[in-house]
Amino acid sequence: MIRDLEREAEIERLARVLGTDTDRLTPLAEAEPEDLRALSDAIADHLHERHAGAFEKAIAVAGKLPSAMTAKLAQHAMGPTLSARAATLLEPKQAADLAKRLPPLFLADVAVHLDLRRAGPLIDGIPPEVMAETGAELARREEWVVLGTFVGHVDREVLAELLDAFDAEALLRAGFFVDEPQRFAAIIGSLSDARLDELLATAAAQDLWPQAFVMFGHLGPRHAARVIEALDRMDDDARATLDGELEGELRARASV
């Protein structure tokens, strides 16, 4: 099941890079997620390099104009896909200034197309409230892959603020797509006991245990022990939905 979810996510990611529908990628339906990711990255690089001169000129134009005008051009002339590709060439300060001037709806559109391998360093400069508003919009759209990728790049202090904007379902579904497993400790660590209880109740109610255990499977003993305590607080019916083997693995992790 986990591989299927990963494959589905990578097909979605590839379709986004190509600007096409997932239906057209049917011949790749059996590909391994890692191969699909490598292909997406290669195509993103190619499309960036194919018109690198044009993107560089767009950034040069931005440098000649007031920020408010640049923001207007990003939104109304470039659009989200081209803005996302050009944004990777911005200086962090420029990116932060622009982000403050753009509405969360547009930033969410840009985020969907942003290549965080290139744009990752820009993320730190974006004000936390802008990140949180954009994150909330992405959650509203159920853009779990995009959200998960962002969570892997945001500054640890901003992470807590970003997570406040997510309900338990969003946390579980986006958390599944976080590329950096070391982030799971920060995610679980930033949740209160009440939020952790809510996370487990949602996993039980919506059959999201696989997503939950992708997160829990990377925790160290301290955070695993907190999850075990939360499991012990669950009511019996909800607890019965959990696979005993997964719980056993977590208990072993907590006792290391």
């Binding site: 890079v17 190509l18 600007g19 096409t20 057209r24 990628l25 011949p27 790749l28 059996e30 590909a31 391994e32 890692e34 191969d35 699909l36 490598a38 292909l39 290669a42 195509i43 190619h46 499309l47 194919r50 018109h51 044009a54 000129k57 767009a58 040069a60 134009v61 000649k64 104009l65 005008m69 207007k72 051009l73 109304h76 002339a77 470039m78 659009g79 896909t81 081209l82 590709r85």
Partner: protein, 67 residues
């Protein structure tokens, strides 16, 4: 990998190539379409930029983009 595509711009990972020519052809067709679409969007973006930027600044913009 399909020999027809060995010199194409994007190198298809071996695992994708192993799926067969249909998969490889699909990738290259879609990459070609994405290139064309991006070129078209960029042309449109320049036109829209020149219509949005106030007249006194248009000369500077044209100079930068070489239009």
């Amino acid at each position: 990998m399909s020999s027809r595509f060995q010199r194409r711009a994007v190198e298809v990972p071996e695992g994708i190539a192993a799926l067969g020519d249909d998969a490889v052809d699909t990738v290259h067709t879609l990459v070609h379409e994405a290139e064309r679409s991006q070129a078209q969007e960029l042309r449109g973006a320049l036109d829209r930029t020149l219509s949005i930027v106030p007249r006194p600044l248009r000369g500077a913009v044209k100079k930068v983009v070489g239009a």
